[in-house]
């Protein structure tokens, strides 16, 4: 398996994976800061404003045309949380010049584009352009307001918010609606400067290139700030649950959304991480898992019933869509599954199936440039060096006892139910 080559340019860590397997170059820049109520909203707004124009290409339309000219280079960004960090990820993908008759290097042009976006934005009198800030404030507001439209996502996020009410993790990565209005172009620019100075910056490139080439291109393309790279801090994953929190929310919905939040006490850097992966897989990660079999196949209560692991924060969340009247029954069946995991009711077959599925996933991610980047970035986030191959071997070695040990440490924290407005 080819390895990432590592380098460093001032505050940016460089990670380059030379490979001829893809028809594209995949580029990702991660910029991470600790989640903080005071900065979460302006930091979320920064990438929205940056994507409107740069010093070289101030007008948005010309900026977008540039991307089309690079054979429709993909450009986008995401703001999300990992552990207790808020991460802004910029993403570009551009086709390898070998497939088109281009007379400029598309990799060089793309890195120049990204460097301009992140380090050379359009400024007017030492602040962002008012018009862009205003428009993107509206866009950010709409994005936050739109969360409620997708009831499955809304319920999942509300469950986490309730569960982590006393932790930074309660914050939505896009910030708080009520903080948007007061952000001025001046204030945003100050936040931007601090963000560039303090954020942990990691630039990844996967494609037919080398660390030398990328180093040289980035030197020319980014206005680098002197200094050394920042690192991430690990979240606290050991919280004791005193009492299960129960929240019911009412809205005009046809189907009830049941979400349950569990604390595993195990983080990504923990030696028990492979066992917690297995725990989640057996509980609800797959169509052969306990939740799918018992809630859906046996009882016909739901179309979806699954669990998801947030390995960095040590949380496992369960989600299912059910008839309102089946709430008690569904909760009882799900709790039976949790109990059965604690009791060690784990068959050889469940173990084998889950190991095979996790291993398959770890092998498959080698076929996607972005998945390889995302996997490698886990070690940047946690300081834990564990290649996909090593994790695969560790998962294979997990025993039923290891999983029971994890199961006995898992605490149900919150039961959240989104239902209709009719009183029962």
């Amino acid at each position: 398996m080819t390895q990432f080559e590592r380098g460093q340019l001032q505050r940016i860590r460089l990670h380059v994976l030379p490979t001829k397997r893809f028809k594209t170059f995949a580029i990702s820049l991660f910029a991470g800061l600790t989640l903080d109520e005071a900065t979460v909203t302006p930091v979320a707004l920064i990438p929205f404003v940056l994507r409107r124009g740069t010093a070289n290409t101030p007008e948005t339309i010309a900026f977008r045309e540039k991307l089309d000219d690079l054979y429709g280079a993909g450009f986008g960004f995401d703001v999300y949380k990992r552990g207790d960090s808020q991460i802004v990820q910029f993403r570009m993908d551009v086709i390898n010049d070998a497939f088109v008759s281009s007379n400029t290097s598309l990799l060089a042009a793309s890195l120049q584009f990204l460097g301009d976006v992140v380090t050379d934005p359009l400024l007017e009198n030492n602040k962002f352009r008012q018009k862009y800030v205003d428009a993107e404030k509206t866009t950010l507001k709409k994005r936050l307001e739109a969360i409620v439209n997708d009831k499955i996502r809304y319920a999942a996020e509300r469950c986490l918010e309730e569960m982590c009410a006393d932790e930074p993790y309660r914050l939505h990565p896009l910030g708080k609606l009520e903080q948007i209005d007061s952000i001025t172009p001046e204030a945003l620019y100050k936040h931007y400067e601090q963000w560039l100075e303090n954020a942990a910056l990691d630039l990844y490139v996967v494609g037919d290139t080398s660390l030398e080439e990328v180093t040289q291109l980035v030197t020319g393309a980014f206005k680098l700030i002197a200094g050394t790279p920042s690192s991430y801090s690990l979240p606290n994953v050991n919280q004791t649950v005193k009492e299960v929190k129960k929240v019911t929310e009412r809205m005009d919905v046809s189907q009830g959304k049941l979400n349950m939040g569990l604390r595993t006490g195990v983080g990504y850097d923990d030696d028990a991480y492979p066992a917690v992966l297995m725990y989640n897989g057996i509980l609800g990660g797959y169509p052969h898992s306990k939740l799918f079999l018992n809630v859906r196949e046996k009882e016909s209560l739901a179309y979806y019933a699954a669990s998801r692991l947030d390995g960095h924060k040590g949380l496992c969340t369960i989600q299912s869509g059910i008839e309102f009247a089946n709430y008690e029954r569904a909760v009882a069946i799900i709790q039976e599954q949790l109990e059965s995991m604690r009791q060690g009711n784990l068959s050889e077959l469940e173990l084998d199936q889950t190991k095979a599925m996790i291993s398959n996933h770890l092998r498959e991610l080698q076929d996607s440039a972005y998945e390889m980047i995302a996997y490698d970035f886990n070690s940047v986030l946690t300081g834990k060096q564990r290649s996909a191959q090593q994790l695969l071997e560790q998962v294979q070695a997990v025993t039923a006892d290891d999983i029971v040990k994890v199961a006995q440490g898992v605490q149900l924290d919150t039961i959240y139910f989104l239902r209709d407005r009719k009183e029962a």
Partner: protein
């Protein structure tokens, strides 16, 4: 075995049609760990009235193709997901307007997984009890979509566009229609559409072509299929006009969702002509209303659209329509501004630079798509069932002229053919 090479994209395809009519395509991808396989039948939600050979035509309940897809996963020995899991494969299936696709992706035990895929799809097992049990699950699936405003606005638009054509029927059917489904009807649909001559097996990834063909040939030679006459698919005559000019659905949303669509009058295209229409329409829409167009910037600056704004073109023999829209605070103003920009462009034509740019963009995204085994298998099958070839698409993008897209523009944007679908919060 036939070898087809596409030097412009550096891909080689192997193809064979077996004696029983099954078409098999293999696309080896060097250096890939993963193998992705799809086993598809040309049978989707629109095929609700059909006959085989000289049989009289029969009408079946809405949502039955999708119901059948669910039921295929159950075998007398249990749930087939468990078998795939033991073999380290993640399996799934989906039903669309014109096809049902079963799939897996795996990095090991490829031969065993291929056998499992072929065997479970070729082994229906329906009982009165297991059919009844599935109704509860699918009812929850239907309710899940009912709560999803993006789904509702999209299907609301298709429902507004079409009077008779079954494309306007929800793929999963309704709670009422699925209650009418029984095992006899499921078997009837199965026997008709899951005959090998109506199916395509596509395998892409880290495989060796001859090995795959040998496995499939051996597998098929162990089974016998009666030769089947041609399948007849029957559709009511679809009036060329739209059914409802403006359809409003109430659902709690942060901002109204608005989609507009233009219904094509001419829908008898097949094969290459259908493909060419798709390519020129997509290029035209991209130049007119894509993210780098003047219109898009104008709408964004006027706060009429957000990042959710987009466009697509959906076509097949029998139906064809565009979909343009997203979240907007003011659907009427959005439609008015689109209309005035379109009328302006109808007079002046698409700008040559905008055309060249959208061409580059489309070529780029086509090439990017070839990184993804899932996308290749999906697109190849979609085009193949419409008698065209996904690997011709690049040539069509390259050879498309400004005159062609201007002609497409004039043909497509007929405001008499416009329908609007809006999802908005109930008035308080």
């Amino acid at each position: 075995m036939q070898t087809l090479t596409y030097p412009n994209v550096q891909e080689t395809l192997y193809r064979e049609v077996l004696d029983n009519g099954l078409e098999v395509i293999v696309l080896p991808k060097e250096g890939f760990n993963k193998t992705y396989a799809t086993f598809a039948t040309k049978y989707g939600s629109v095929d609700n009235r059909f006959s085989v050979g000289n049989q009289p035509a029969a009408k079946v309940p809405d949502g039955i193709a999708h119901f059948l897809e669910h039921k295929m996963f159950e075998e007398p020995t249990g749930d087939i997901f468990a078998v795939f899991a033991s073999q380290g494969a993640s399996a799934n299936a989906f039903t669309s307007f014109d096809r049902t696709v079963y799939l897996f992706s795996a990095t090991e035990q490829i031969n065993a997984n291929l056998e499992t895929l072929i065997n479970f799809v070729q082994n229906p097992y329906f009982t009165d009890a297991n059919v009844e049990k599935e109704k509860g699950i699918i009812e929850q699936e239907i309710n899940m979509y009912r709560d999803n405003p993006d789904w509702r606005v999209y299907f609301g638009l298709i429902d507004a566009l079409y009077h008779e054509h079954p494309v306007h029927i929800d793929i999963a059917g309704t709670v009422e229609s699925i209650r009418q489904i029984d095992k006899e009807t499921l078997y009837r649909c199965y026997e008709t559409f899951y005959h090998p001559s109506n199916m395509l097996l596509f395998v892409v990834g880290g495989v060796e072509a001859e090995e795959v063909f040998k496995l499939v040939r051996d597998n098929q030679s162990r089974k016998s299929f009666e030769p089947q006459g041609p399948i007849g698919r029957y559709f009511e005559n679809e009036p060329s006009s739209v059914k409802i000019a403006r359809k409003v659905t109430e659902l709690p949303v942060s901002l109204p969702k608005c989609m507009i669509g233009f219904k094509e009058k001419k829908t008898d295209l097949t094969g290459e002509a259908l493909l060419r229409q798709e390519v020129t329409t997509k290029l035209m829409l991209e130049a007119l209303i894509g993210p780098s167009s003047k219109l898009y910037q104008q709408l964004y600056e006027n706060d009429l659209i957000s990042d959710s704004f987009g466009h697509e073109f959906n076509s097949s023999t029998g139906y064809a329509f565009s979909v343009i829209g997203g979240d907007t605070p003011n659907p009427d103003e959005l439609i008015a501004q689109i209309r005035s920009a379109v009328e302006d462009t109808l007079e002046r034509g698409i700008e040559p630079t905008a055309f060249e740019r959208s061409k580059r963009k489309k070529i780029g995204s086509y090439l990017r798509m070839l990184n993804s085994p899932e996308a290749i298998a999906g697109e190849f099958t979609r085009y193949r069932f419409r008698d065209s070839n996904m690997f011709d698409v690049l040539d069509y993008y390259e050879s498309c002229t400004l005159e062609e897209i201007n002609e497409r523009l004039r043909e497509h944007f007929d405001f008499g053919q416009l329908a609007v679908s809006i999802v908005e919060s109930p008035a308080k």
